[in-house]
């Protein structure tokens, strides 16, 4: 019962962050700013959702898989943000 | 949803039909080769949706295994033919500098 309540709370938090991410994607002024929506808000949302589902997970393996998925998503979106930003910014960083 | 009482399967085959003919229409009408290939893929997805949505689900909600196997085969063939088409389009482009076949090119845009 307590765990269910905790999960629900985490889902609510995830909802807040997912919505913030989507609103950010729509409202932020240019491409570089919009990368924030992807790499920060959305990944936190995914993290909270993952946490909520880990609490409900039926086995240790399932929980581990959810953690792996979250980590992969984190790394992938950080790298994606970096590569897209590099494309938008004309100057190479100093060597 | 609408006048017809729409269950989930109906929704998907209606979408499948729409995608099929959108894709077919654009594939026939669009001059650019790459757009034709995109349209070919959209059409394929539409056909797969119709194929799968028409089969009844198993007792545990899982789609019909034969339809799934057919669609899986179809997806692999679709990607193979798309890749082949892309390859031909690229070679054609390298050789002629065009991105559409001469008989398809709209008036005035062909240089």
């Amino acid at each position: 019962m307590f765990l269910d309540a905790l999960s629900t709370l985490l889902f609510v938090l995830a909802t807040v962050f997912f919505c913030a991410g989507t609103i950010g994607l729509l409202r932020l002024p240019d491409t570089l700013c919009r990368i924030h929506a992807l790499t920060k808000a959305d990944n936190l949302g995914l993290g909270f959702a993952a946490l909520a589902l880990i609490i409900q997970a039926e086995s240790l393996a399932a929980a581990g898989q959810i953690i792996l998925i979250w980590l992969l998503a984190l790394v992938a979106s950080a790298t994606a943000g970096y590569r897209v930003a590099r494309r938008c910014v004309p100057v190479d960083p100093p060597p | 949803m609408s006048a017809i009482a729409m269950d989930a399967a109906t929704l998907w085959w209606v979408l499948g039909t729409a995608l099929t003919f959108l894709g077919l229409g654009v594939m026939l009408a669009a001059p650019a080769l790459l757009r034709k290939l995109l349209a070919f893929n959209v059409m394929g997805s539409g056909v797969f949706l119709v194929l799968l949505a028409l089969r009844p689900r198993g007792p545990d909600g899982v789609a019909d295994p034969i339809a799934q196997a057919l669609v899986l085969t179809g997806i692999v063939i679709a990607i193979a033919s798309t890749a082949l088409g892309l390859m031909l389009a690229r070679r054609y482009h390298l050789a002629t500098g065009r991105d559409s076949l001469p008989e398809d090119a709209p008036e005035g845009t062909d240089d």
Binding site: - | W13, L19, F21, F48, A53, R55, G58, A67, G97
Partner: protein, 296 residues
């Protein structure tokens, strides 16, 4: 949950229209990738989890990379303006509307029934020694189809290779990317093997595993990692290995099981897994060959 389905369908339709009428080839490709991503979700909603897995890996991953790779070439061409011309609408679209209406009417009269074949599959599943029905259909009941499919894939590769491949510049070294890809690729290879193994009891199998494997190799390629391993994949032997294994096992079935493409009792599980492993390698190599990649 019907609201989820309806919304998903609407988004898919909007994406398809936007993709087909996109201004440039690259925009169209990006929209198609997003379309593929959501189509995978639609397959999940339809209960077709095997198809969803393949769509996620092939439709959204490999096809996306292929299209973007090709779109770049058309982007920089002076004639690239041609693709800006949206398809000229009227006469064909009226025909399409008419055909769509005919098909919709025809489909609405069909009563979905579990056909004899479906019933036969669930009845024979026990004796096929494979727990997952889709794998059983692909490699036991309809093995001929799968065999020919692999042959078709090889023919496509051969045809693609008849045209000399475009030469690309090798990617610039990027330390951050190299670090990330350096540990992502091994995980992806592991996931591919896991999917292959999972195919014998639940969703998974050679196609999905091959697509993930090809994705892993492409990740390495796009970041300029492991060029030697990449060259190994371009060996023609890897591409035909799967088909040859399939044919050899299939023919030997004539002696051991009394039917070509049959499996001797008790051996089905192991043989199918072996064939699938060989197919995984070959399909992955073929998908890679279809990129027509040659480094400068």
């Amino acid at each position: 949950m019907n609201a989820v389905d309806a919304l998903l369908a609407l988004v898919l339709l909007a994406l398809a229209v936007a993709c087909l009428w996109a201004k440039t080839a690259r925009t169209g490709s990006l929209l198609f990738i997003t379309f593929g991503l959501l189509l995978a979700l639609a397959w999940v909603r339809l209960g077709a989890i095997d198809v969803a897995l393949a769509e996620a890996a092939i439709g959204a991953g490999i096809a996306g990379a292929l299209l973007l790779d090709a779109a770049r070439q058309f982007e920089h061409s002076p004639a690239g303006q041609n693709s800006a011309r949206a398809p000229s609408p009227w006469p064909p679209s009226l025909l399409m509307l008419f055909l769509a209406a005919v098909l919709l009417y025809a489909l609405s009269t069909i009563q979905p029934l579990a056909g004899d074949a479906t019933l036969a599959v669930s009845a024979a599943l026990e004796s096929s020694e494979i727990a997952h029905p889709v794998t059983a259909v692909l490699l036991v009941f309809r093995a001929y189809d799968t065999l020919l499919e692999i042959a078709v894939l090889l023919v496509a590769v051969l045809a693609a290779q008849a045209a000399p491949s475009a030469i690309r510049a090798s990617p610039k070294y990027d330390p951050a990317l190299a670090a990330v890809v350096g540990w992502m690729v091994p995980i992806a290879v592991l996931v591919a093997v896991y999917l292959l193994w999972a195919g014998s009891s639940r969703t998974g199998g050679a196609f999905q595993a091959a697509a993930v494997l090809a994705g892993a190799i492409l990740l390495a390629r796009f970041s300029g990692q492991w060029p030697d391993a990449d060259r190994l994949w371009q060996h023609a032997g890897v591409r035909v290995f799967g088909l040859v294994t399939f044919i050899v096992v299939g023919l030997s079935g004539a002696f051991t099981a009394g039917a070509v493409l049959g499996y001797p009792a008790g051996w089905t599980g192991g043989l199918v897994l072996g064939i699938e492993a060989a197919l995984m390698l070959s399909i992955a190599a073929s998908l890679l060959a279809l990129f027509g990649w040659k480094e400068r």
